[in-house]
Symmetry: C2
Subunit: 153 residues, 2 copies
């Protein structure tokens, strides 16, 4: 009912360039991880988060929230990683319902093995294509977006 505020040229340029860039960047990064490390990007992200979390691990919901993914998707991916011995699931000490995921030594090894190629590709498709000023501007804008969107959910 309310008149739509259409995007002007500058806004449209921002949206379309953002769309194209994200598609290209993710396509490249995912291809690298699959081909060279045998991990999907979601799996890599899970391992990174659990690595950062340390020996106490993380609750499934905490993981899902910080990865901005669905609960069911996380269950599946953690299941895959558990099959391969890169992650373990354990009961949560403070909540019977809870499940705590932890990275295993094998998981840490997999991460160490995957990281150099991953970082290299991330540089090749994003970081090294921008100068420091552009990089800071991206961080500034994306941080603004994230802080607003975090509140809404």
């Amino acid at each position: 009912m309310a008149n739509t505020r259409w995007l002007d040229d500058g806004e449209m340029a921002a949206w379309t360039s953002f769309l194209e860039a994200t598609h290209r960047v993710f396509r490249e990064v995912e291809a690298q991880l699959r081909d060279e490390a045998g991990l999907s990007h979601p799996q890599y992200e899970v391992l990174i988060k659990l690595h950062q979390a340390g020996p106490d691990g993380l609750r499934m919901t905490e993981l899902a929230t910080s990865l901005i993914t669905s609960k069911s998707g996380l269950t599946y991916q953690v299941g895959q990683l558990e099959k391969r011995g890169l992650v373990t699931r354990g009961a949560c000490p403070t909540d019977t319902r809870g499940v705590t995921a932890r990275i295993t030594p094998a998981g840490s090894d997999a991460l160490r093995a995957a990281a150099p190629g991953h970082v290299e590709r991330v540089r090749a498709v994003l970081i090294d294509l921008l100068d420091r000023e552009q990089l800071d501007a991206v961080t500034d804008a994306m941080t603004s977006v994230n802080s607003r969107l975090r509140q809404e959910s």
Copy 2:
């Protein structure tokens, strides 16, 4: 073999904020399209491209290239849209192998119906969260990335 050039704090901040923002933004946009327009984001993108292409339509490969998606994925999505009468497939006049996809009047209607809600959400999760300066900076950075990555493929 070569020493990995790890990301410094600023570079890491750029990458992680970019990652988080893209996940959040796409999650929101896809949810809006599915819930309010019954379209997936890939489908919406197909319709937009075909709408922009006009009555001559586009070859499948051109579509796949401009949408940065796989050929097989595009075949599937165009098939879905064709089932629903939003798109037609026709022989390409200059190449027997070719298939030209065109948007139908019903497809244009679907697009018109979906657009306002989509634009509104795009504003809510990205455009309106940034001031003009940030917007221009994003466009600048993403355009740099795209022009580089376009050449590589």
